[in-house]
Amino acid sequence: MSERDEAAERGGGRPGAGGAGGFRDRLLGRVRLSGWLALAAPLLAVLFAALITSVVLLIAGSSPLAAFDTLVEYGSQPRTMAVILNNATMYYISALAVAVGFRMNLFNIGVDGQYRLAAVVAAGVGGAALLPGVLNIVLVLVVAVLVGALWAGIAGLLKVKRGVSEVIATIMLNAIATGLASWLMSNHLGVLTGNDLATRPIPEGSRMPGMELIAGTPKLVNGFLVVAIILGIAYYVLLNRTRFGFELRATGMSEPAALASGIGVKRMVVTTMVVSGAVAGLAGMPELLGETYKYSNNFPAGLGFDGIAIALLGRNNPVGMALGALLWSFLGNSSDSLQMINISKETVDIMKGVTVLSVIIAYELVHRYRIIAEQRRAGQETAASPAAEGAAA
């Protein structure tokens, strides 16, 4: 029974009790799900989202079957598949950046500003061609990482030194980043060609080569796919296999416990924001080094917010987020095809939104089920052990 005591205690929520086991922890995926449930929950949620979208389509007088058929058919064309992969790469890196913060209870809403500012500065530096060939790629990446890290670090410092919520700070820094980026573009880095204000293109020798992965299309798959996979593995190793990762997760699960264990919580806040920002800085690089080679007004916007949704979808799990990024990219890229059968492409936005919501709800249900099951199991094991053991020990 006292297993239940403990659960009641946690559920009841002593005021300010360490935050362990709260809904927010589960929302941010700091609570682990295991086994088939971890797979079943998101699958069911996606199906449910499809169902809701169907209802919306029916109300709008369109055929859901035709819509899904069109989405799948368009999405499975070789060219679209390549584009889906390329966009998913950016989504994935952005989601990784968000997830690093999530694991420590930090809401880095500022990935959006971090990647854009990083992309502007990196594009400017890359376009200046200070270094030859591959070295220039490295330089561009280093600059992007540094700018992203610095920009996020401001929010970390504000939180530690002045107690400013990182949510507020990063949202404001996003706005400042937008202003700063356009100032940089119009006054220093941008070159006006006709009506198009863009940075100088990165020279040909310093571009990320594409890969001919998908047959039947001349569209190349962005070389950053490899980088994204490496980042995903690094994310997993960093969080689960290193002391830093342990301290990060411990701080995320319970700040008081981390303090009592000698973990420098303030230092962890700044470091985590910096790491998150550094990864965020890379989010725009597939586009810059593999697609357009310059920063302009057409540079993808809002990647940071997609990253938040995908991190939630994938529960901060590196594989989960990869699947989430692919789904997100598939929906985003195939939505245009709906217009061919006179369905508004915004229908897909409804589906994206419902997917995130129902995934969160599904995880929550699964979590409650799992806690009950685990307590029952612990209860049985305890009851089964020899009677006087505790007293005798």
Binding site: M1, S2, A20, G21, A250, P256, G262, T382, A388, G390
Partner: protein
């Protein structure tokens, strides 16, 4: 249960008390058997069914919204309506006044809950239940959060409720309290009733033996193992709150190898702050602070831990464990820089897991496995894991804050044994506890703390809990609390 009685249910942690209560309150369904209220069998699917049958539950941890007033908290979820939409505050206030007066609860309905003390909050919880028409009250460990005089007030209230014809089910493992307040006692062990007894012919010791089902262990230590070498020396340690008031005021003491130094005091007299200051979690000013002769004044928490201070925190859920993490990760906590848990920057999973398995076996942590989340274990088993973990860091000093609080008798005995064994092996222990028997039994020397100052040195060999208790309140200073 007889109407108009206070019926106590006692049992060890894990005996099934709370499960029983949850079934009675409709939070969980029984596998078999039936519940009868006033002779009629009832089936509860949800707490709402239980409330409808007149059963109300006061939870151990308060479920109140701090920023709402007492009145708003009480009516939350069952607001009296006027004209369909508006809340009828006047009717609510009248009803609350009536209930409060009838049972002598002295509730002021318009005060925000955040301004209330713990005892008042508990009365609000009771009123909330009465407001919903409960005739049977379930109180789950109601005294766990109260200081002694609040406990007295609570018991006074409970007797008043019973006089008015209510029935109270009282769950506790504080036996002296049960004996004081209950009209009837049911002892449960491993999910079954082992005895139904009359408190008038029971002693706390006898009751405890019924609970455990065996002879009770005692915290007595045998021969002294105190040596001459000082492990921890504290001189003139002061902790101030944000207003500059001294919470810990010029405290100093030495602890030797093989010595258990007990700090006795009514809770809230600076013990918690003293411990946090010693661990480097809370800033303090200190005249001198040495561990094994080394000045540790400027050391961080991590360095102090690495320097050989083990720490059993007062609140294991907040400070001692990562509830959602598996046991083996909890074994790393606080020892995340040391072998066997890490190799350089890498977590050594295999070694950490093996060592967790060793702790689980050596300290009799009852768990399905080391991958189980800490939250799934009972309080006693969580505490055994913490003790095992802290002992595994080769400490020279152990700071143990309420090491057996909320732990069942079996685990308590095991923890005492481990402390004694470590003391015999030369460990210095700073023991802070509210359990006077534990303090007197385990300590080699005792100091009494009152309002942040050490006010008395007591020889545990010839002091009774009563004498110690009066020293803790300042020997006659009634305003000590």
């Amino acid at each position: 249960m007889t109407k108009g009685q206070i019926h106590a249910i006692v049992g060890e942690n894990g005996a099934g008390k709370s499960t029983l209560m949850k079934i009675l309150y409709g939070m969980q369904r029984p596998d078999e058997g039936e519940i009868r209220v006033d002779g009629k069998p009832v089936v509860f699917h949800t707490p709402a069914d239980a409330i409808a049958a007149g059963i109300g539950m006061v939870h151990q941890h308060f479920m109140l919204a701090d920023n709402l007033t007492v009145l708003e908290n009480v009516i939350l979820g069952s607001e009296p309506r006027r004209g369909g939409v508006a809340i009828d505050f006047r009717a609510a206030r009248k009803k609350i006044k009536e209930i409060s007066d009838a049972y002598g609860l002295a509730i002021r309905p318009d005060v925000p809950v955040e301004e209330l003390g713990v005892g008042d909050r508990q009365r609000v919880e009771i009123l909330k239940v009465l407001y919903r028409g409960a005739r049977i009250l379930i109180l789950d460990e109601p005294t766990a959060v109260l200081v002694p005089h609040e406990v007295d007030e609570l018991f006074e209230n409970l007797r008043g409720l019973v006089r008015e014809g209510l029935t109270i089910l009282f769950i506790s493992h504080k036996l002296d309290e049960v004996l004081r307040v209950a009209d009837a006692i049911t002892v449960i062990r491993r999910g079954t009733t082992v005895a139904s007894v009359d408190p008038r012919d029971m002693t706390a010791r006898h009751l405890a033996e019924l609970m455990v089902g065996s002879e009770l262990p005692s915290p007595e230590t045998r021969e002294s193992t105190v040596t001459d070498s000082v492990v921890l020396s504290v001189g003139d340690l002061t902790v101030r709150d944000i207003d500059g008031r001294a919470i810990v005021d010029g405290v100093g003491f030495d602890i030797h190898r093989g010595e258990v130094l007990g700090i006795a005091g009514v809770e809230g007299n600076g013990q918690a702050e003293l411990v946090e200051a010693l661990m480097g979690i809370r800033p303090c000013t200190v005249g001198s602070l040495t561990l094994d002769g080394k000045d540790i004044t400027g050391w961080s928490t991590l360095k102090r831990r690495e320097g050989g201070i083990g720490y059993i925190p007062e609140d294991r859920h907040r400070h001692g464990l990562l509830l959602e993490a598996p046991l083996w990760e909890n074994r790393i906590l606080g020892h995340q820089t040391r072998r066997p848990n890490v190799k350089g920057i890498w977590i050594d999973r295999t070694a950490a897991r093996d060592d967790t398995q060793r702790i689980v076996e050596a300290y009799d942590v009852r768990t399905p496995g080391i991958d189980t989340a800490a939250a799934a274990l009972s309080g006693g088993n969580q505490q055994k894991l913490i003790v095992g973990r802290e002992m595994s860091g080769d400490p020279v000093l152990l700071i143990a804050s309420h090491p057996t609080r909320g732990v069942d008798v079996g685990a308590q005995a095991a923890i005492w044994d481990h402390l004694r064994a470590a003391r015999a092996a030369g460990l210095a222990v700073l023991l802070i506890s509210a359990d006077l028997d534990e303090l007197i039994g385990l300590s080699d020397s005792l100091k009494v703390i009152l309002r942040g100052r050490i006010v008395a040195d007591v020889d545990p060999a010839n002091v009774t809990p009563e004498q110690l208790g009066s020293a803790m309140t300042g020997a006659g200073e009634a305003a000590a609390q």
